[in-house]
């Protein structure tokens, strides 16, 4: 045994809190875990720790010290980082070159403790939660060009690279996105980046009728004006089970917070934005409605609030994330009525729904799945009954997922039970 290996073996035996600083250390520690059959809790900054089942593991593998930018080539439109690199730091670096992560990583910090926390690159990739531009540009999984990581046996593996077109073997970059650290311990991720649009405006339409809202979503999706965000925020329920948040979450000069509103965003240069708003006014017959126009600064704040779920800031209730085909949004809106606090993103597809802790969520889940959708229980209240599954999955997909899990992690050591009870 080499001295370095011996040292890592000793560290592994002595401590339950492991914080590697290099890929080789990660590999050695996992080899030890494999040898000793020790389950491992893999995590970054813990910004999304509350999602999924609690992991019961002997060892805690913290990736927050494996951080830093490895390579950033603005002209090649990619950035290669270590997994513990904070998303906020990446965004600050990109900003200097007028670039961004255009999938708008969801910020779960506010619902946890009222403060922004976008977590790490590794966490962002592993959880695959994209924001409002999803229907236009794609999800996190569409922006991962490649990765390096360590599988459950301790072997360092890689897939993809730095180029956008790449058909060399299975596209494992997609597979690991949304796998919640159950397949690979990431040691390096390469993200595709995009040029930031010079300006943006957001048009607010004050309307609440589900049929009209559904129709507006459809018009957004049918438009050739490249609308890059469309949401509906209904009135907050009057029930005392919800702490009022809406006026705080959307505190903007040009936004009338009373009542429900529909909002859509246009990005580009100012001339193009004006031209497109004019065209959309005809497409949507905007003169029929009461509207507001948020300028670049207000628009930016508005979408930050949407993508950081500030409507549910510090909620003690259950928070569900449902995705349905856009044509089913009206049915779901009618079901939700004013009983739950919610908003709709992705132009009619993504519902964030806050359910009071004493409320049975079975009917709601059934309604979503009956409407060809899926639902994830994101945040659980203290009294959450674990009889409810947190992720939606059918038996065949579960069987396939289990086999794939075994091919990466044959001893089931990575985040055991995080997504499904069986593995």
């Amino acid at each position: 045994m080499f001295i370095e290996e011996k040292k890592n073996s000793q560290i592994f035996q002595d401590s339950n809190q492991l914080s590697p600083t290099s890929e080789s250390e990660v590999s050695e520690l996992i080899k030890e875990a494999y040898k000793n059959k020790f389950p491992i809790d893999i995590h970054g900054s813990n910004s999304k720790k509350f999602i999924g089942y609690n992991v019961q593991a002997a060892k805690n593998l913290d990736f927050s010290n494996l951080s830093g930018v490895i390579e950033y080539l603005p002209e090649e439109l990619y950035i290669k980082v270590k997994p513990g690199t904070l998303i906020q730091d990446i965004e600050n670096i990109l900003e200097k070159n007028n670039q961004e992560l255009s999938f708008e990583p969801t910020d779960f910090g506010y619902i946890k403790d009222g403060k922004s926390n976008k977590g790490t690159a590794g966490g962002c990739v592993s959880c695959n939660f994209a924001g409002s531009r999803r229907f236009k540009v794609g999800s996190v999984r569409d922006f991962i060009l490649g990765f390096r990581g360590v599988n459950g046996k301790g072997d360092v593996i890689k897939s993809g690279g730095t180029v956008v077109k790449n058909v060399t073997g299975y596209d494992l970059s997609k597979l690991i996105s949304g796998s919640f650290g159950t397949l690979v311990a990431l040691t390096e991720v390469t993200l595709k980046i995009s040029a930031k649009k010079p300006s943006q405006n957001t048009i607010i339409i004050y309307e609440k009728d589900p049929k009209i809202i559904s129709d507006l979503f459809n018009k957004v999706l049918s438009s050739s004006n490249e609308i890059s965000g469309a949401v509906f925020v209904p009135e907050e329920p009057k029930s005392k089970k919800f702490i009022p948040n809406k006026s705080k979450a959307f505190k903007l000069n040009d936004l009338d917070q009373k009542g429900a509103f529909f909002a859509f965003r246009i990005e580009g240069d100012q001339k193009s934005i004006k031209e497109r708003i004019k065209d959309i006014s005809n497409e949507m017959n905007l003169k029929k409605y009461k509207t507001s126009n948020l300028d670049i600064y207000q628009s930016d704040l508005f979408w930050k609030s949407i993508n950081s779920l500030q409507l549910f800031s510090e909620t003690k209730n259950n928070l569900l994330r449902a995705v349905v085909p856009p044509s089913k949004s009206q049915k779901l809106m009618v079901f939700l009525k004013n009983k739950y606090r919610y908003f709709i993103d992705w132009s009619g597809s993504l519902f964030w729904i806050e359910v009071p802790e004493d409320e049975n969520i079975k009917d709601l889940k059934n309604t979503i799945t009956q409407n060809d959708g899926y639902v994830t229980i994101i945040k659980k209240s203290e009294d959450f009954q674990f009889t409810e599954k947190l992720f939606t999955i059918d038996d065949t997909k579960l069987m396939i997922s289990k086999k794939i899990k075994e091919s990466f992690d044959p001893r089931g050591l990575f985040n055991p039970g995080k997504m499904y009870k069986d593995f």
Binding site: S159, T168, N225, D372, K405
Partner: protein, 498 residues
């Protein structure tokens, strides 16, 4: 070149051919099972026509249930299965094996649901890529990925190869444009992945299947996203005096935050060849020609072309021509799209390569290709999807000269190795198939390849589905053939290839 190691033929399976054929006839209409030589001969190759091999039998299944029954039977009896769509693949992914059933999906040729509300189309896998756009264009929609063979290639094959096209820089490849598939596993299990929703929960199985080259399952249904046509589309032809100037211009356009819908580069050899072939009006004084296409609103397209013109001038462009109308725009593309047949007219044979490089390495790889061209004493014409770094050099040679053929193979392999060395990939859109299988170890080490093989084993433990493809059999980085075209006798010669 036409010699390649294939999985060992199982003689017991071959000896039971008659029994297998009669069994297969239980699962589908008798006329769908082909076993006579004249019937199976047309299936002996795909568009990588240098390699030919006869299957044991061909089954043209008609529905998912039949596919499931056939696979269940083959799984039980240890019979290998090669799935095949339209057979237009350029990497030999559908090359048959003597002891394998070739499962043709040509009869899966119906569009099942056009859903404008959810902006998607549900289709059977044998439907051609272009038919999808044709089915929705009356309402101003289209399907974005546009491989050059879109007239004939099937959407199921597009999923298997993760096909791209000219517009993938802005709109992505197949994997970014599909919502769901129905798939049959080797043991006959029918599985639905995704549907009409964006993303799916849990492991991204859709992402895994897309680009898996028919090794993990047989696709029996695909749900694709459709997009609204852009308001304005315009293209510009820009000439440059040197390779460096053209390459630098590509990088500068992207660095300036412009994302063209398409950005192509052609070198002098290809400009000359295509101009002679279709008279597209290309500037003959240019060493490098760029075609840039932008789409969006009218004012946006105009403004961005102003910027591109300035960037081009800064990079010493010696001509700039903007399309005035749709006819002219299509004219600009006509030369680029005729690249393959134009090369066919220049030499008895040509090889088409498919590698990717980081955009910034464009002039470096062109110089390297030029150096190799001298080293091997062989002509080469270069066409690039420059925006996404995907290159298609066409090596010109005479296949009847064995020594020249050997040099061509070495030349091709060296180009792909250079791509990997420069941080690129072995294949941008044609796939690995059998063609680049042994080169996989240039890009991946044993651990990487073993992990991929473990996934394959987990879903097809007997390795019956499309064996011998993608992963090296020899585990030595041997040089293999590219698309070999002899005297213009390309498979599907009428398809544009670019």
């Amino acid at each position: 070149m036409s010699e390649i190691a294939l999985p060992k033929v199982d003689r017991t399976i071959v000896s039971k051919k008659d029994l297998i054929v009669s069994n297969l006839k239980q699962f589908t209409d008798k006329k769908n099972v082909l076993s006579e030589l004249d019937e199976i001969k047309p299936y002996e190759t795909d568009a990588l026509a240098a390699y030919k091999n006869l299957p044991l039998a061909v089954v043209l299944a008609e529905n998912t249930q039949e596919v499931s029954e056939i696979l269940k039977f083959c799984h039980r009896e240890n019979i290998k299965v090669i799935p095949r769509g339209a057979g237009t693949g350029l990497s030999g992914g559908a090359l048959p094996l003597n002891d394998a059933i070739l499962l043709g999906l040509g009869k899966f040729n119906k569009i099942l649901d056009i859903d404008f509300d959810n902006k998607c189309v549900v289709t059977q896998p044998g439907v051609t890529n272009l038919s999808i756009t044709h089915a929705v264009k009356h309402k101003g929609y289209y399907y974005a990925p546009d491989p050059s063979s879109q007239l004939a290639c099937s959407i199921g094959g597009n999923v298997a190869e993760n096909s791209g096209g000219v517009h993938s820089l802005k709109y992505g490849t197949t994997t970014n444009n599909i919502l769901g598939v129905e798939m049959v596993m080797m043991d006959g299990t029918i599985c639905r992945i995704g549907g009409k929703t964006l993303d799916q929960e849990g492991y991204d199985l859709l992402g895994l299947i897309c680009g898996s080259e028919g090794l993990l399952g047989v696709i029996t249904e695909v749900t694709v996203k459709i997009l609204k046509n852009p308001q304005t589309v315009k293209a510009a032809l820009i000439g440059f005096p040197t390779i460096e100037d053209g390459g630098n211009c590509v990088t500068d356009i992207i660095s300036n935050g412009i994302t063209p819908a398409g950005m192509e580069i052609m070198d002098k050899a290809l400009i000359d060849a295509t101009e002679k072939f279709v008279h597209a009006g290309y500037p003959m004084d240019a060493e490098v020609l760029m075609i840039v296409e932008l789409d969006g609103t009218k004012s946006e397209v105009e403004e961005l072309f102003k910027q591109i013109k300035q960037i081009a001038e800064k990079n010493k462009s010696n001509s700039f021509k903007l399309s005035k109308n749709e006819k002219e725009r299509l004219g600009f593309w006509s030369g680029r799209k005729a690249a393959f047949p134009a090369c066919g007219a220049m030499a008895p044979d040509y090889y088409c390569m498919d590698g990717t490089i980081p955009r910034g390495k464009l002039s470096e790889i062109l110089k390297e290709i030029s150096r190799l061209s001298k080293k091997y004493n062989l002509g080469v014409a270069n066409g690039f999807h420059a925006g996404d770094g995907n290159l298609h050099p066409l090596i010109l040679f005479d296949g009847s000269n064995k020594e020249e053929l050997r040099r061509t193979e070495e030349f091709g392999a060296e180009i792909l190795k250079a791509c990997v060395r420069m941080g690129g990939a072995l294949s941008g859109e044609h796939g690995i198939g059998i063609e680049k299988r042994e080169l996989m170890c240039e890009a991946f080490n044993d651990n990487d390849i073993q992990q991929q093989i473990n996934i394959k084993k987990s879903l097809d433990e007997k390795n019956l589905l499309n064996p011998g493809k993608v992963y090296p059999i020899l585990r030595k980085c041997a040089e293999e053939g590219r698309v070999h075209v002899h005297r213009g006798e390309e498979k599907f010669p009428d398809l544009p290839r670019f």
